[in-house]
Every structure is written in C-alpha cells, then in structure tokens.
Subunit: 157 residues, 12 copies
C-alpha cells in the first residue's frame, strides 16, 4: 500500500527511495552526534566549537526533513525511528562522556567524511532514476563539505 | 573525572543527574517519534496534525537541550546517542510505515502519557536533591500536559 | 464526562481545578475592569495611566488563557462566560462613568489587592495537589504584585 | 458631566452613543464566548477550530476597543463591565462544559448572526447622526460577515 | 493644463479639490504647531505630552500626504508651500516661546476643534461630488476626534 | 444551493454579487496584464516601471481576494477561472511581445481608466443594496485612481 | 526582434523558450484554479484546506515569475495573458460554483498530476539545450511533487 | 525666562542659538518644498524622483528635530511656526502648480545650494562657541551635500 | 515609611527583603566585574571570551532589575548604589589592569562560585517566607550555574 | 606592559587615557544612580519618570562601553570596578530609600550638571592630544545635554 | 600542503579548483567595476541605475564568497588578492572618471557578457569532475543572465 | 569636466579629494585582504577569526562607500578599480596560500597599522580644507583603531 501515486515508475522509485532512506538515517544520527558533542565538550575552544556544533545540528535536522518529505513525495515511507537509526546508520560511533575540543572536532571530521562518501555514491546512483532527488543530494553535499572544511581547518596545525 | 565543580554534593548530584539523563532520552525519542508521525501521516486531518506534530518536535528538542545542559551544569555527562536512546527510552515504539491520522494521534497520546508519568515521578525524586532541577521538570510537565490535552481533544468523539 | 485522561487523581484534580477556575474568573474580570478604566479615564495623568492600564489588560488576558488551558489539561472544563464572571468574581465592582486618574489608580490598587490575596491562598492549597498548577500561580503572583507596586507608587504622595 | 466637548449636537450624540454602547457589549460578550469555545472544544477538528476561534477573539477585542474609544471621543462614557455585559448583551448564551467541534461552530454561527443583525440596524440608525460612527460600523460588519462565512462553510455538508 | 485626465467632471473635481487643498493646509499647519509645542514644552507632564505631541505630528503628516496625493489623483495641483500655509490655514496661531504643559494641551484642543469643525463641513460638501474624497475625510475625522478626546481628557480636572 | 445564509435579501444580494463578480474579473485580468508588461518591458525607464508594475500586481491581487471573499460572505460563488476572465473582463487587450516603456505606461493608463469607470458605476449601484460592498469599492477606487495618476504623470511630457 | 542578445544559440533558445512558455501558462492557470478553490470551498476541512490552497497560489505565482524572467533572459518574450492561458493551459478545468473540500482536494491532485507530468517531460527536453533552464524546472518539480503529496495524503482514506 | 540652566555662557549660547534657529527654519522649509515637488511632479522620471524627494523630506524633518532639540538643550526656545518660516527662510521660493521632473530637480539643486552655503557659514561661527553644535552642523552638511550631489548628477547631461 | 502595602507580613517581608537586597548587590558587582574583564582581556581566546563576558553582563543586569523590583513590590527599598556595592558585595575582587584570557575565565569561575553559593542559601531561607521570591532565586540559580559550567568547561584541560 | 601598540605618543595617550578613565567612572556611576532612582521612585509621575530613567541607564551604559573600549584601543587599561567608582566618581551621592518623583528629577538634574561640566573640560583637554577621543566626548555631551534638558523641563514650574 | 582532505581525487580537484579560482577573480572584479560605475554615474537615470548597480555588487560579492569557500572545501586555496585580480580577470576594463548612465549600462552589459561566456564554459568543464561545483556555477549563471537581461532592456531603444 | 558644482573652492577640493581617493584605495584593499584571510585561514582559532575577519570586511566596504560618495559630493571622481588599487594601495601585501590563524592576525595588525597611520595624516591635512571630510576620517579612525586593538589583543601572549 502507498499513500500517493508516485511520479516515478517502480524501479526508479526504489532506487531513489533507498538513497533517501539511507541519507535520512545518516543525517538524523549526525544531528544526535553533534548534539552529544555540543553538550560534552570542554577545552580552550569550548564556546566557539559549542556554537559551531549547533550549526551542524541545524543543517542535519533541516536536510533530514527535506529528505524524508522527498521520500514521501515519491510514495516511499521514510523511517527515522531510533531503532532504525541504531541499526543502519553510517556515522561512526561517538565515545561516551566528556570530550576534549580537539577530539570532538576530530570526531566530527570523521563523521562528515563517512556521510559525504556515502552521499556522493548516492548522487551517482540516483542520477538516472530521478533528477530531483539527485539535485537534492548535490545541494546537501555542498553544505556537508563546507562544514567539513571548517572543522578540518579548525584542527589543522 | 568531571569537567566542572558541581554545585551539588555527590548524592544529590547523582539523584538529579539520573533524573535528567532519563528525561533527556525520553525527550529525544519523543522528538524522533513525532517526526516519524509527521512524515508518515495520511487522512482527512493530514495538514492540521502534520503541523501540530512539528510543535511537539520543537518542544521536545528545546527541552532536551535545556535538560542536557542542566546535567552538564551539575557535572554529569549527558548521553543522547542513538544507542542510548534505543536502549533506555520510555517512549512506546511507533509502528513503521504510513499511519492514519487517528492512529498517529492515538500513538502520541500514549507517548505523552508515558513520558508525563515518568517525569512526574522525577519531580518527586529531585525535590529534596535540587530545587533547580525540580523546577525545570515542573515547567516541562506543564508543556507536555498541555500538548497531551490537545491531542486527546483531537481524537475525542 | 471528561475530554481527557487527567494526569491527576480525582481529589487532586478537584483541588487544582477549583483554584484554576476561580483564578480564571478573577483574571477575566480584572481585564474588563482595567479596560473600563482605560476608556473612562481623565485627569493630568491620562496618557500615562491609559497606557499602564493596557499592560494590566495584557497580563490578565494572557494569564487567563494559561490558567484556562491548564484546567483543560487537567480534565476540568473552564468556565469564562460573562454570567459566571458576574456571579463568582472576587474583583471589587468598578463605578460607572468617567473616572478621575487618581480614583482609577486607587480602584486598580484595590482590585490587585483582592486578586493577590485570593491567589496567594490558592498557592497554599494547590501545593500538595499539583506542583505544576502551584508553579503557574506563583508566576502569576509575581506579575500581579509587580503591577500592584507600580500603581501604589503612582498614587503615593 | 462629560469629559469632553462633543463634536456632535446632543441628539446625534445620543443616537451614535447608544449604537456604540450596544455594539461594545455585543463584542465583549462575543470575545468571551469565543474564548469559552476555544478552551472547551473537542473533536476531529480541534486544532483547526481552536486556532480559528482565537481569530474571532482578536477581532472582537480590537473592535471593542475602537468602538469604546469612539464613544469616548463623542463624549459618551462607554460601559464594558461584566454586569453590564450580562444584563444587555445580544449574543445567545453558550452552553457550559466540553463542546464538540460541530456544536461550537454552530454556536458561533448563531452568535455572528445575532450580532450582525443588530449592527446592520445600527448602520441605518447612525447614518444621519454621525458618518464617522456609521463608517466604523460598516467596517466592523465587513469583518464579522467574513468570519461568519468561514464558520458556516466549515459546518456545511 | 493638468497632468492627468481627472476621473471626475469639472464641477465635482473643483468641489473635491477645494476641500482637499484646504485640508492639506490645515494638516501641514497642525503638524508644525504640534512640533512647536513638542520642542517648547515644560512642566510636570513634559515627557508624557512631549511623546503624545509626536503622535499628532505623525497623524497630521501622514494624512497630509494622503490628502495631497488624492488631489493630484483628481487632477488638482496641491499647494503645501509655507506661504500658502501662512495665508490660508485655519489652525489658531500658537504663541512663541516656552510653553507650560497645561497651556500646550489647551492650545492643541483648540487646534483640533478648529480643524475638526472645518473637515466635518467638507464631509458634507464632498459627499455628492466624490464618495472617495468623502470617505477619506471621514477616516481623517475619526483620527482627529480620537486625538482631540485624549488631549481634552488630559486637561480635564 | 448556497453555502451560507446571506446577510442580504435576494435582490440586494444579486446586485452586490454581480458588482463583486465583475470587479473580481477586472482585477484578475489587471494583475495578468501588469505582469505581462512587467516581463516584456524595455527602454530607458525599464527598472523604474518594472518595479512600479509589480505594485499594480500586488494591489490587484490583494483586492481580488477581498472582493471574492466578500462575494462568498454574501452567499454568492465567485468565479475567477481563466475562461471566465477571458470571456467577461473589461480590461483592454494588451499587445503581445516586447513592449517599450512608454507604450506599457500608456497601456496601463488605459487599463486603469477602463476599470475605474466600471467600478465607479458599481459604487452607485451597490449603495442602496449593501453599504459594506459599496465601502469596499470606494476603497478600491482610491487605490486605483492613485496608481492611475502615477502612471499618467510618468508619461506626461 | 529581440530585446537582448541571447546567451544561447537559436535552436537551444527555441527549445528552452518553448518549455518555459508552456510552464508559465501552466503555473498561471494553477494559481487561478487554486484561488478559485480557496474561495468556493466548504466542508469540515474548510479552514485547513483554505490555507493550504493559498500555499499553492504562492508557489505557482512565485515560480511563474521566475520562469517568465528566465524566458526574457534568454531573449524569448513570455506570454502570460488570459487569452493565452485559456488557449494553451494544460491544467484540467475546474468546475464552477461551491466545492466540497474532498472534491477540491481531488481536483488539485489532478491538476498537480497534469502539470508535473508536463514539466518532467520538459526537464528531459531542456537538458541538452540549457542547463540553467533544466535546473530551474527540477527545482519547480521538487516543490510541485511535495505539494501534490500533501494533497494526496489529505484525501487518502 | 528660560526653561533650563544653559550649559553655555550667554554669548556662546546666543551664537549657537542663532545658528540653530536659522538652520531649523531652513530645514522645515526644505521639507515643505521637497513635499511640494513630490506631489506636483510629472515627466519620464516621475517615479524615481518622487521617491528621491521623500528621502529629502525624511532627512530635513529628522535634522529639524535634532536642531530644535539642541536649541532647547542650550536654553534657547526654537521657533518653527509657519509665520516664522515664511518670514526668515533662506530656501528659494518654489513655483506653484505641476512641475516637470527636470525643473523639480533643478529647483532642489538650488535649494540645497542655498541651505548648504548658509550652514557652512554657521559651522565657522559656532566652532568657538560650542563644539557640540558645530559637530551637529558638520554632520548635517555631510548629508545635505550627498543629496545635493545626487540631484546634480541626475540633471547633468 | 513604605511606598506600598506589602503583600507579606513583617517578618516574612524582612527575610525576603534581605535576601533580595544581598542578591541585588552581588549581581550588580558581577556585572561590573564581567565588564572589567570584557575590556581588559587579551590572549588567543580574546574574541570568544570577550563576547561570552557580555552574556554574563546581560544576565546580571537583567536579573538585578528583576530582583530590585521584586524587593520594591514587597515594600522593601532596594539599594544598588556604588557605595553599597563596595561595602557589601560577596563577589571576589578582580585584579586591575590587562588580564590574560585564562585568568579572566578563572576569575569568573570564582565569582560564579561565590554568588551561586550565597544565592543557594537564600533559596533555603526564603522558601517558608515567600514562594515568589524563592522561585525567582531558583530561576536565577539555573542561569548562573549554566554560565558557570561554560566558563569551567572553557578552562578545563 | 601594554596589550597593544598605541596609535598615540606617550604624552597624548596619557592625556586622552586620563580623560577616558574619568569619564568611564562618571558614566558607570550615573547608570547606577539612575537605576537606583528607577527602583525607589514614587509620586504621580511614577510611570513616566520610571521609564525616562531607564533611557538614562541605556545611554550611560552604552557610552561607558564606547569610552572603555576607546581607552583600550589607545593602550590604556580601563578601570570600571566598584571600588574605583566609589573612590573617583564625580557624580553627587544619591540619598537612600524611597524617593519622591520631584526629588528624583532634581537629583538627576544635579548629576547631569556635574558630569556635563567635567566632560566639557575634557573636550578642551583632549583636542590637541587626540581628535578621535575629543569627537567621542562631543557626541557624549550632545546626548547628556539633551537628557539634562528633558529632566529640567520636567521639573520646571 | 593542503588544509583539508579533499573529497575529490587530484585530477577532478584540479579541474574544479581552476574553474572556481577563475570565477572568483571575475566576480571580485565585477563587484569593483559595478561599484566604480555606482559612484561615477550621471545622467537622467542616475538614481535608478545607481541602485541597480548595487544589486550587481551584492550578487557578485555573495557569489564570490560561495565560490571561494567551495574552493577551500575542495582543498584548493582561493586567491582573491588585488594583484591576482588585476593579472587574471576576464572582465573588460572600465574607463576612469565620470560616466554617463547610458555608457555605464553599456559597460555592464559587456562585463556580464564576458563573465557569462566564461562561466558557461566552466559549467561544461566541471560537470564530469564535480557535480557540486557544476551546480553552483549553474545557479550563478541564472543570476548573471537575469541581471544581464535587465541592463540590456534598460539600454534597448 | 565635473558632474557637480563643488561646495569647496579648487584648492580645498583638491586636498580633500586626494585624501579621500587615497583612503578609498586603502579601504578596498583592506577588504580584499581580510576576505583573503577569511578564506585561507586554519588553526585552532579558525571559527573565531573567520567571523572576526568578516567584520573587518563589512567595516572596510561600508566606509569605502561613504568615502567614495564624499569625493563625488565634492566633485571629485573616485577611482576604485582594481588596477588603481594594485598601483596605489598602502596596505602591505598578503602572502598567498593557506594561512595559520596567528599569522593572519599578525598580518591584519600590520595592515591596520599602515592604514591608520596614513588616515591619521589625512585628518591633519584635511582639517583646514573641509571639516566634513575631516570628521568622516575621524569616525573611520575610531573604527579602525577599535578593530586593530581587538586583533592585537588576540595575538598578545
């Protein structure tokens, strides 16, 4: 059963839907990881990184909404429940407890690298299936790579 | 190790910290459940409930931030990672797939009931330990019970 | 019949509900009295008191809404109809016709005193029944006592 | 005694003043009735009607202020006290207790019909006495009839 | 010569144009008088009346613009030059030098009375000639009479 | 069948309804003509007229909404579909293709003249039938004649 | 004759220009249809759908402007006149008179389906001719398919 | 008599006071002249100059207020009444009736030149008497000369 | 003598009044200390801490106002004069001259610790005397402890 | 030691630095005195003067910041600690306890006179040393003298 | 050495980096040329073109930032120094001195043509190397071509 | 040839014009240098300095506009073209490539020192020629020296 008549044929809808579902999970986990770092941070760059992490949260949450509603618009039910995130996220685990600023930045750099790598693959896959989905993922990549640069520049000595 | 000198003695910090950590998890899961319903909704009340669910998300996210930073201010590291949410949340599981409006409202009513019951217990527990934490949980309960009323009124025939 | 499952047991709901209903009536009447004074005022302090009275109206209306919706959230139907206000308000009657500024200020001081006295009693009563309702009434008292001070200072020679 | 030199002769002032006083009472009662419905509502259209009712409250309160200050500007003391509302309002009584959405809409439709009928008569009466008062009542009627249409459209099957 | 094709026949245009030109001059002079009082005021109500006078200035300037552009829209060249104001204004002269608050209020009451009397005559005259101009003057009168009431109430003992 | 109980008797509703329907069509066509000129304009006044034309669009669209909802409030179904506009509009046809600034201004002047002439007749017709509709058309005429003046002044040599 | 030196060669300009002209007409008609439904709606979802339809109007009007100005930027004169809309629109006709909410939603779903189908074809056609035009149509499709999903979800039982 | 204890000795106060009074009159007249041109303008630059003239009005009004209140702060009663403006203004007379754009610009250029010349002399005179007044006049000159340049550039062929 | 009739009996007023007076002095001194650090700061975290210190100033100033006006509302004259601050403040002295970032952060951590310790005692003392004052101090403590955490996290290695 | 390379030679830096330090202390004390009056005020002008005093606070705080940061920019460490204010302020002491409105205004008039007299001397002293510092003090004097006038006008009988 | 791990392989990074560097220089020069014209303009369209040129400046500056930060995100150091602009810009030189409006428009048309031609080539080159960079350049082209159209339309006779 | 009649005699215009032209070039180059640093920055203070550099850009761009338009107002054509900047700027060259935060701060400190030194000389030169230009340069120096202090404080150990 589906809620809507999909604008895509079955095969294309499946390709685009899978890419969107996987991206949704990555973004929701990225938002949780960034908040975790935001709360557990310490060190001489505390205030600066604390604020920067909330920009990651905002980006991840906003794109998660766009991605999930794009899936719905294609007739694919998006799944952003915590059990699904835990089971399928591509974001590296974040260590528990207080986190020094340099380590938090490093963890975010790794998280961005993982998500960017996965989303770039999906840009390739979705191109022939749905130009709209592909365009959405290209815009997301631009934002992720910009934030990734800023965190890398922050930790570069 | 702790990042800060807690304003509370050990025992009181532990009581308040546990209450805050459990509340953080409940709120993060509530925000994910409300978003899940927001995206998978259908039925004649789609637009109205779709918007109402985003108000739940905003409340849950904003209070999660306040609660986590209150824990940090007490010298207790907050844990809002997805694995922790999956393992310890008190919010009932939300069914996968498209969800009819009446069912989504019902699920939210159950989620509110569960969270409110747990937070009300913590108001009792934290009172003697930390008046500041207790006051925060009282304010949270006011918001949760207001939203719970609205969802119940929506489904009442 | 009730619209919602109350978060409180019957006795506590009744105590909190009665306090909220009585406060709702007092606030609605206070808003009408302040508007009456706002329109019928004259004297050398006309503009200043005219504006100050609208701040009372705003406070009374905003808290009336909060109080009524708290009652609803407890499963208690709030009653703010004009016949109920006329029958049960604790605000002293305001004289008809044009009102000199000094007399309007004096009337407001008496109105505040009456409402504050009644709300302070309800803070005592609701404490054991519902911490959320009590907290709401404490916040209301802070606002009422601040405005009461300002009107008293205005008439003090 | 009057506070100001009226811009109108005695007879015209009396005609306009009576129309404004009666309209003031109708609007204040309409605002109380709409709030009563706003708080006691339930049913599948809860959220939508709950918000719509607050638009009625805003319109009624804003016009009540304009109407009362127009009376004052004509040298006629406006009376918006609760006892006066109870004694002279033309708005049909609203039933106590929880109210189903369809019934609340129906009650508002009746309230609008009563107020519109009365204000339309006053447009006729005030025309020869004071063009300014008449123009104000015409503007009020435009708003009331627009909101009346929306509530009727809502309940039309 | 005229800049535009008037929407009115010659006679009607002349009637409406004369009323608008006379009103323009009255409003520009009222704005200058209110500013003069705003700057030269003293006495225990200084701050309150100082601010109130600027509301008169705003009203007079805004309506002067509307009135002048209505004249232009009828193909009648508006004249708001200082020599024209000096020669044709209907606003009573304002005394030079520092002005006590009670006297400034009194002077404004007289100025409002003069302008309102003249504009009310023009409402009568313009009705048969141009309903649009008449409606504009009715709206202006509502504002002038409201401000007149406030200044009278301020000086009433 | 009608959606609402009209506040007007049948004959008056028909008069007001016809005037509103005809005005709706004129305004929608005026908005399309102004946009057409906005897009196809060239010449040394391009930027200035390009912006001015969008003010016409905004006025026409906003009043079209007010006019259509006034018809609905009277129980008359408004018809703003493209076939109805094409069949019944009183706005002169606008030539296809690129349009020099002086010609676009001239075309707008003609369009305003046509619409103003028709709306002024409807002010006469609706007065005895419905003062509210008449007042709305008077307000519309004020805006149309102001904009008409500005376009005429622009092309006047 | 053309107003500007096109950045595209003749053939590419013609392909892109045709796609833009056809899309302009579809969007203008969609905006008129959505307004028609907005005004003629009735039924228990009146307020919710009434507001939702205005979001369609805003989207359609905004994109119509972007599309027409893109045509102009390519040196192609856009044609958005009512006769052109009537003659060439791809939006299904909307029935006259009052419209029940469920039927209005259904009509919008059909309108979206028609426009989306046509725009998706133009994405294919314009790709080789002008990447800028194609990118614009991809962005438009994202918005149309999102709104289409919401209307479908609303009517899904 | 004076309202305040002047911060300046008598001679310095007289010098600064005279400069401020003369500047006040020039600015009030400039604001009236600019409005006159704003209303009576025609020609191909109508819209552009119409808007530009209102920027002159805003500057002249705002600085008139600053200048008059500076006089008051020095214990010098400012005089901005229409008879005083007519008698003492240094702004060249503006011709009555409709004014072509090129002529309006030319008249403004002459008005600016006259006022700037007079204010520049006052900068010299007030320097030794009151640095605060001088600084105010320097700031005014910066604004006047900027606007003067723009009007000159507009008419330069 | 007192300006107002206190809502509290003498003993309770004295307890609450003393707590509020002492808190007022602490907060005013904290605001001066934070500004001193804001101006004299240097080191690699200059910009970040410079901005963070102004957030302390804002919090301290805003709560000082609330605390002083609460005292006034209880009929207790607040004393925030510099001699009183110097004589009774509980904030540790801040060293004169330029201050390295790490030292400024350390000084703020000590200042927060001192103020928090004193305010927490007053929460205990005022509870039985005045629930409103206690609630205000609990809210203040929440803010102070949050800011204290952030400064500690900043200096933690 | 100094944090920065001063843009001024030693002697000029010392002159400007001394003037800025003394002004900083005067402004901080003025802000505390105005707040003290704001809180302890009573009498028929309570509301009006209460608000006016907060404008003094805002001016004094904002200029204190500008003055202190100008000192820092010259390489001079500013000292705004409470002990420094108590020891070196030029503002007359403000009496403790409740203060009648007329007396509060009088005290502010004296405070302004003292600060203005001192700052005017510093304008003379700093001119040859640093034009930037002098310009800052001239701007400050303009604001202080404007507010001084307003308080004097308020108490003038 | 590079600051970050590029998300692209070496060859792709070089292609995208070169395109971005060249575009950065073009945009910075375009912003300087548009400002030069903005300041040196004269003629009857002065105000209109003066404002239009600042829109070019805003577009060029905003895209320069996006383009430079995209290069950085790819690990390519952007170079926007004046010597680099002078040496490598593709924007035609702008003549020194005062510039007549028609000539300034012509110069901008040429500048747009040059930049658009170069950017369109880079869209082709970057497609296979980096879809994100290509998408950015497509968006830039849309804006440049829209502004180019407007300047061409302005000068078209 | 000049566009306007200069308010200054030839010699004074030349002096002021030269100072403004040289300042324009310095500010444009400063804005380019600050952007270059903004893009190429790395190190532990990346985010903080990245943001701080954009404040320099804003200051430099805003003052460049003021300075250039002041020159134009004096009848002196400003020249802000890239070749002129390269040839005549007084800002030290900024090294190409990625830049560590400490080095970027150091470079900005040197740039500020150079520009401040040059502008301070121009304050001396322009005083006798044009008080308005001098006042503008004094205001600019205040801003530059404030930002210079902040960068110095940032790098001071």
């Amino acid at each position: 059963m589906t809620v809507i008549d999909s604008p895509l044929p079955d095969k294309e809808r499946e390709i685009a839907g899978s890419a969107l579902q996987a991206t949704l999970v990555d973004l929701l986990d990225l938002s949780l990881v960034a908040k975790q770092a935001h709360w557990n941070l310490y060190g001489p760059r505390f205030r600066s990184i604390h604020l920067q992490l909330d920009e990651v949260v905002t980006t991840a949450r906003d794109y998660a909404d766009v991605v999930a509603e794009r899936a719905a618009a294609l007739g694919v039910s998006p799944d952003g429940r915590t059990t699904t995130i835990t089971a399928t996220s591509g974001v590296p685990a974040f260590a528990p407890g207080w986190t020094k600023d340099v380590d938090a930045v490093e963890a975010l750099v790794r998280a961005f690298a993982a998500v960017i790598g996965r989303v770039r693959e999906r840009i390739e896959e979705t191109g022939p299936a749905d130009a709209v989905t592909q365009d959405l993922l290209i815009g997301l990549t631009a934002d992720l790579e910009k934030q990734s640069w800023m965190f890398q520049a922050e930790n570069r000595r």
